[in-house]
């Protein structure tokens, strides 16, 4: 497995729901130790690693560290734990799922999302998803007091899901959105460090928080840096499954990263979209235009921050996003890494800033 994918596996296994990204940040800090010129952490937990360039033009790269999760909201007398989602879920991927429950610095314990068995459902209930307030987490506790020995209201839960390689070069894991972007950024820093490259751009590698709840940490990161240009690295939901017409698939796995021209958060400057697509052509790196206006990412915050920033988004096509079993193609990881790396090392006068 490529080094980047090994790191990605570690990042995906980390416990990092929104506003609890510390475990992810710890792994990134250890990985990048000694490979940057400046490191800044702000009060909500955004991490910025700067590699100085030969010009004064600032290029910001951004990937978010948080994953969708659950927050524990109450514990009943039988020791069952009720919860609220943190981030956007299709509730049809929650019932029955195994979890890790806990908080940063606390032991993670096993649990699962339960509700009554199919045998106990009424005729009307069958064939319908169980509403979120009628599902609960079971950790095997006997009573409220027993459960409180292990968990507290305000603790989090994330999916318990391993990293599996399957099929022809596919990988399944949790939190691919957006640990994949984080791993790509680390890979670029490693490349610059190992090859002792002095980039033209003043580079800022940002690992941000709180993307999944819409009040993203990326906006204040951009305000702090005041970049001239920004590139967001993401995972994007695709409907690349049998029976879906091509125009609704969003992007195809295995055909390279998807470059956005428009999504629900941003209408991208054509010069930025073209810049990234042309870079792919020039260096013979597979990439594709995102074929459907759907989803959104930190570009929505960054392009409006700091008085306006020229922004692009490069996303890895990912099936079943926000579930325990996100699926992507490892060749797309490699293409996304090479495309983003070429952007990072591009001379300023060959970009939309010229």
């Amino acid at each position: 497995m490529a080094k980047g994918l090994e790191l990605l596996e570690k990042l995906c296994q980390a416990f990092g729901p929104t506003s609890c990204e510390y475990e992810v940040a710890d792994i990134i800090c250890a990985e990048l130790e000694g490979k940057y010129d400046e490191h800044t952490v702000d009060f909500i937990g955004n991490h910025i690693f700067r590699i100085k360039g030969t010009s004064d033009k600032k290029l910001m790269f951004s990937a978010h560290m948080d994953e969708v999760g659950l927050m524990l909201s109450s514990i009943d007398e039988n020791g069952y734990i009720y919860f609220q989602p943190v981030g956007g879920f299709d509730i049809k991927v929650l019932c029955g799922r195994k979890l890790f429950v806990g908080d940063y610095g606390k032991e993670k314990i096993s649990g699962l999302i339960a509700s009554k068995a199919i045998h106990q459902q009424s005729h009307e209930e069958r064939g319908r998803a169980t509403p979120i307030d009628r599902m609960y987490i079971d950790i095997g506790a006997k009573s409220k007091e027993d459960a409180e020995k292990y968990v507290s209201v305000g603790d989090y839960a994330v999916f318990d899901s391993d990293f599996v390689r399957f099929g022809d070069g596919m990988i399944k894991g949790k939190a691919i959105d957006d640990r994949l972007g984080c791993a790509v950024l680390c890979d670029i820093v490693n490349y610059i460090h190992e090859n002792k490259i002095k980039p033209d751009f003043d580079l800022y590698f940002c690992f941000t928080v709180r993307e999944e709840v819409g009040r993203s940490g990326a906006s204040i990161t951009a305000n702090r840096i005041r970049p001239d240009m920004a590139i967001v690295l993401e995972a994007t939901a695709v409907a690349d499954i049998a029976g879906t017409p091509d125009y609704k698939r969003v992007a195809k796995t295995g055909s390279g990263p998807a470059v956005s021209y428009m999504d629900n958060g941003t209408s991208y400057l054509p010069e930025m979209t073209n810049f990234v697509m042309d870079l792919g052509k020039k260096h013979d790196i597979p990439c594709q235009l995102k074929q459907y206006v759907s989803g959104g990412n930190d570009a929505g915050h960054i392009h409006k921050a700091s008085g306006g920033v020229k922004t692009a988004a490069i996303s890895c096509p990912t099936r079943y996003i926000h579930s325990a079993s996100c699926v992507f193609n490892e060749a797309d990881y490699d293409s996304m890494y090479r495309l983003a790396r070429e952007a990072a090392l591009c001379p300023v006068n060959e970009t939309p800033l010229k």
Binding site: K92, V93, G96, K98, I118, F166, A237, A239, I241, A242
Partner: protein, 346 residues
């Protein structure tokens, strides 16, 4: 006491969709070698394990647990290596989307059931897609998928056994292999205590689809049948006013039913009370929904009773039981067999 977690892991890790129970053959051979004199597969597919009597004169006692579990079967290979499938037994469709599965094709393969992305969902989002519209993502090309996964290939929930608090465990296939674990633990206790009668363990086939247990029982002609299956445990949605309140941790539930054997069952209840074995009693007057419905009228008839282990999230990959309940069931069954074994036969 047998290592219940280890036995559970061995018995539930393999594929054992109804009719394809031989996927567990390694576990079955392990059980044979450790506890029994012989094992055979009878024509309908059940596995019979026999420990011969050390002395004549004891009644022949059979313990039955079914070894199949619910699952899926491939019906079509689609473009992009996606598989259409149908259910084998009653699947809980709420838990299928984005679930991990194991495909028992020419090779054992990983797959994930698709979930529909938000932008393709229209209408009432609480309506679950029918099984005939779901697919399994194999990550393979269509050609490769067709080569490795013939139509009719069984597919099961992916194995993962997790420990919860209070000796509870979470996994797939506990319905009904957790009862097989209890039966084996009971037999081990009897063997260790020097029990000399014949002991028959029947790991029966196809309970989830056609209750083919009857074929094996016809040939075996036991004097007594003790059937063990799982029962749905009480959970909060059942309400405090629910009549049946046995839940995980309450010990085995003894079923009183007019179609099993009321006298025989009452004898077990009396035995449990007198000797302080942890248990609860429930009434399922005209159907138990288990093999115990069918065994009483096999051949010339078999006195049959049902002991159940409470289980949560039945027919999912996250079934939950307490290993304390398994141990309590084993102790009750072992104690009762010893009492029955004291009878003179004929």
């Amino acid at each position: 006491m047998a290592d219940l977690f280890d036995l559970t892991s061995r018995l539930t890790c393999g594929g054992s969709i109804s009719g394809y129970e031989h996927g567990q053959i390694e576990a079955l051979e392990y059980i044979r070698d450790k506890y029994f004199d012989e094992m055979r597969r009878e024509p309908a597919g059940s596995y019979v394990f026999i420990r011969h009597a050390k002395k004549p004169g004891h009644p022949r006692i059979m313990f039955d647990a079914h070894m199949d579990e619910v699952g899926m079967m491939v019906t079509e290979v689609l473009e992009g290596g996606f598989l259409r499938f149908t259910n084998v037994g009653g699947l809980d469709t709420r838990i299928l989307q984005a679930a991990d599965v194991t495909i028992y094709g020419k090779e054992t393969l990983y797959g994930v059931i698709v979930s529909t992305p938000p932008h393709l969902q229209t209408g009432d989002r609480m309506v679950l897609p029918g099984i005939d519209t779901l697919m399994i993502d194999t990550g393979l090309s269509k050609e490769k998928a067709e080569e490795l996964i013939p139509i009719g290939t069984p597919v099961g929930y992916r194995f993962k056994l997790t420990k919860l608090k209070n000796n509870c465990i979470c996994g797939k296939g506990f319905d009904d292999k957790i009862c097989a674990v209890a039966g084996i633990a009971a037999f081990e206790q009897l063997i260790n205590d020097g029990y000399e009668g014949e002991l028959i363990l029947l790991l029966s086939t196809k309970e989830e689809v056609s209750r083919a247990v009857v074929a094996a029982v016809y040939e075996l002609k036991p004097d007594y049948a003790i059937v063990s299956d799982v029962c749905c445990a009480w959970v909060p949605e059942c309400g405090k006013e629910a009549k049946r309140k046995t839940t995980v941790g309450d010990g085995p539930e003894i079923s009183l039913s007019a179609i099993t054997d009321v006298r025989f069952t009452k004898r077990l209840i009396g035995f449990a009370k007198k000797n302080n074995f942890k248990h609860t009693v429930c009434v399922e007057a005209t159907s138990t929904g288990t093999n115990a419905n069918d065994i009483p009228l096999v051949g010339l008839g078999v006195p049959t009773l049902l002991v159940s282990i409470p289980l949560k999230n039945m027919h999912t990959y996250s079934e939950v039981v307490s290993l304390d309940d398994v141990a309590d069931t084993a102790a009750l069954v072992a104690g009762f067999i010893k009492e029955l074994g004291g009878e003179r036969n004929g």
